[in-house]
């Protein structure tokens, strides 16, 4: 077992990165002045992983849309007590979530940490699916899907993804559809589980009132050494251009929602911490609250306080997006494009760059407050091939020329899509 201590002096923080003998990567940040602790056990497996085979197998398996999320629900069940019942005896607050490229099982507790960690490692590593329990879940998840169909913020985003991408599986709804989840059976669930829930594809991240020795002792007790499972995936070819430049849906909302995305073309699947930071600086300069664009849109009544921008990125996809509510989304799009073109032409002023960097530096500090953020951020950084402290050190080295270069390639104003919910 290898255990390394990583420190950052500016933040006065440190954490342990452990290569456990079982094959699992473990992160622990000890925070003795907190009352509680938070643990996250995740796998690099999400809704985009739809076609794969274990190395050496003849055939690729194509699985129904939404199966990663379905699997997340089903793992909570076991032959005896289900995981929620076990956590209810310890008082921990347990949950799980599935995103495009990962599935994570979490708990937060203010006591019984060791027992809780045992339950977490046990239930995630002990799948139990039968045709009967699979059927029961179809009703529950069916209602979860319906709930999201009525959520305009969710729909505007997924419509945007379908407008931007032709084939990229990020365009698939995370929970799938009522029809696709009807095709899920126990055998398919085991096939996904055996491919992606191998410890070498997973990580455990813990922050709070715990010690690394406690965590390691539980991992020693609960986890057996696993040989690495190597798998291959089919990643569909993606055209350089957007699938549609406009996409609209009527939900009968009182105020229209919009999402505007600019298609990027990268050959590597994951954006580096530096690329992400540069994009966030660019977004801040284009549309942050101190930008001329923001105040113009606000004063002209085109956006409201729900306006935002985000670098929407994960394994296999990345696009800068602008979201909000407006009575005239087309005009907002045109104004954003005008602002981008003007910055590309005139360059970025030193002052605008400094203001954006200072604000984002402040935002970075906020990420070190809560144990759930800390555990989540350690895991995210690892899954993205970075480490937790990389961001805070990057602020010193980025330049406005870097941002200008990025803007020249990442904002092709003729290659964007506007999604609107009416």
């Amino acid at each position: 077992m290898n255990c390394e201590l990583r420190k950052n002096e500016l933040l006065n923080e440190q954490y342990y990165e452990i290569d456990h003998d079982s094959g699992l990567k473990i992160f622990v940040m000890e925070k003795p002045d907190y009352s509680g602790a938070f643990a996250m056990f995740g796998t690099k497996y999400g809704s985009v992983d739809t076609c794969f085979r274990i190395k050496g197998e003849d055939e690729f398996t194509s699985v129904p849309e939404g199966i990663a999320h379905f699997l997340e629900h089903k793992l909570f069940e076991s032959e005896e007590l289900d995981a929620f019942e076990r956590f209810s005896k310890t008082g921990a607050n347990a949950n799980a979530f599935t995103s495009f490229d990962r599935t994570c099982y979490i708990f937060q507790c203010n006591g019984n940490f060791k027992e809780n960690l045992e339950i977490l490692l046990d239930f995630v590593k002990a799948p139990y699916f039968t045709e009967e329990t699979v059927q029961k879940e179809q009703g529950i998840i069916g209602q979860e899907i319906r709930m999201y169909q009525d959520n305009p913020d969710w729909q505007v985003l997924f419509n945007l993804l379908r407008g931007i991408y032709h084939n990229n599986p990020v365009r698939i709804d995370i929970a799938g559809t009522i029809e696709s989840i009807a095709e899920i059976n126990a055998e398919l669930l085991y096939s996904c589980y055996n491919t992606f829930y191998n410890l070498s594809n997973m990580a455990l991240s813990v922050a709070g009132n715990v010690t690394k020795d406690e965590v390691i002792a539980i991992a020693d007790k609960m986890l057996k050494k696993e040989d690495k499972v190597e798998f291959e995936q089919i990643i569909p070819e993606e055209d350089k251009n957007v699938a549609q430049s406009c996409i609209e849906e009527a939900l009968g909302v009182d105020i229209e929602k919009f999402a505007l995305g600019f298609k990027e073309s990268y050959t590597s699947p994951v954006r580096t911490a530096k690329e992400t930071l540069l994009m966030n600086i660019a977004l801040e300069i284009i549309a942050g609250k101190v930008s001329p664009l923001y105040s113009r849109l606000m004063e002209e009544g085109l956006i409201n306080t729900n306006f935002g921008k985000e670098y929407f990125t994960g394994r296999g996809f990345s696009l800068p997006i602008f979201t909000g509510e407006s009575h005239n989304p087309e005009k907002v799009r045109d104004e954003i494009i005008k602002a981008i073109e003007s910055i590309k032409q005139n360059g970025i002023s030193d002052e605008d760059f400094d203001v954006a960097v200072k604000k984002l530096y402040g935002a970075e500090i906020y990420r070190y407050n809560d144990v759930d953020d800390l555990a989540g951020n350690m895991l995210d950084a690892y899954f993205n091939g970075s480490d937790l402290f990389e961001n805070i050190t990057l602020y010193k080295s980025v330049t406005k020329e870097d941002v200008e270069k990025l803007m020249a390639v990442s904002f092709d104003v003729s290659n964007c899509c506007l999604s609107v919910i009416k």
Partner: protein, 424 residues
Amino acid sequence: MERKKIAAGVTLCTHKTNQFKTSAVSVNIITPLEENVSEKALLVHLLARTNKDCATLTQMNRRLASLYGAVLSPNAMKLGEAQVLTLTLVTIDDRFALKSESILKEGIKLLMSCLFTPDITPEGFKKENLEREKRLLSERIDSENDDKIAYALKRMTEEMCCDETYSASPLGTKERISEVTGKEVFEVWKKLLLTCPVQINVTGSFDEDKLTGIIRPYFERLERKDSDIVYPHTEFISESYGTKTVTEKQKVQQGKLVIGFRAGMTYDMDNFAAIKVMTAIFGSGTFSKLFMNVREKMSLCYYCSARLISQKGIIAVQSGVETENTQKALEAIRHELDEVRQGNFTDETLEAAKLSLKEGYLSVSDSVLSIDGWFTSQCLSGDFTAPEQYIAMTDTVSREEIIVAANMVTEDTVYILESEKEAE
């Protein structure tokens, strides 16, 4: 966690700690929900957006950005029959300033200038600012209606409390918002500063004397008198006299079912601990009757949960169901409440409910905003109760007390949002 009086009707709640890398300061103005609700909702947003020194949005946003992206956010929320107007400022700690700036001190000064020196003329708030905030507030009301989960709860509350002050939205109404003048908001602002209780919460690392030294003079300059300060009163109706059912149709994929119960309370802490544990057994958490049966066994819904709104003595059950299953879900929810009334719950469930509530209380001290929220949740009462005391109260609740509490609960209003598509 401490609470002390610093001026007439002004309390300061502090939690001093180096645990966090940020601080939060919130100013909470406690007003009745019945008068000038739209004016006050506009006011708190106007105060947060500009002031005399930062007369435009951009100037204000530049000022906040210079404080390392400090966030200043306005809110108007309902707490019982009070409308609490809140300005919250969140900043990073001075120790992370790159040029040794005093971020928190500057932030608090900014917050005070927003509250005390708005950008006004003798005619009141300026037209361009007022018009902008009217639009933003109206759009926020629209936006909340587009969230069907929130909309259904709001509609149930409106129907259940149609003869009570509590039916009002803390954001006001679009009709009234459109009429309000800058002069009217100005008058409301002056009155609030003189007569409303104010609670200021500060969480993070700070020097308490310096803090009080900055804040107190602002209030001492006003002619506030203890005798003028009035806390809003909330009317409690402890029992329902029959169920009112309201059905609406909309073009939605999923129907909503919201049930409002009277919890049998005559004030906010009336039998609080027993009712809270009872509500948890009934429907708050994965161990609860609603989760285990209506969701897990019957597969009727993705969410079905109960929560106690103690400041008004109401329990609300919220669920999203297929319209064709509405009656089945309604009966199942009623059945589960009956089970609790008859004492048909295991000791394991009882323990799980207590553990889960205690877990929540213990977690309060681990986040800046949850500490701030804890302070705010108690701003209506004259004294302060720490989370530890709630833990002690929870521990003493017996099975018998839970059964008694459940038998005090009466069903008042059933609100159903039907999916039009399926009804056709």
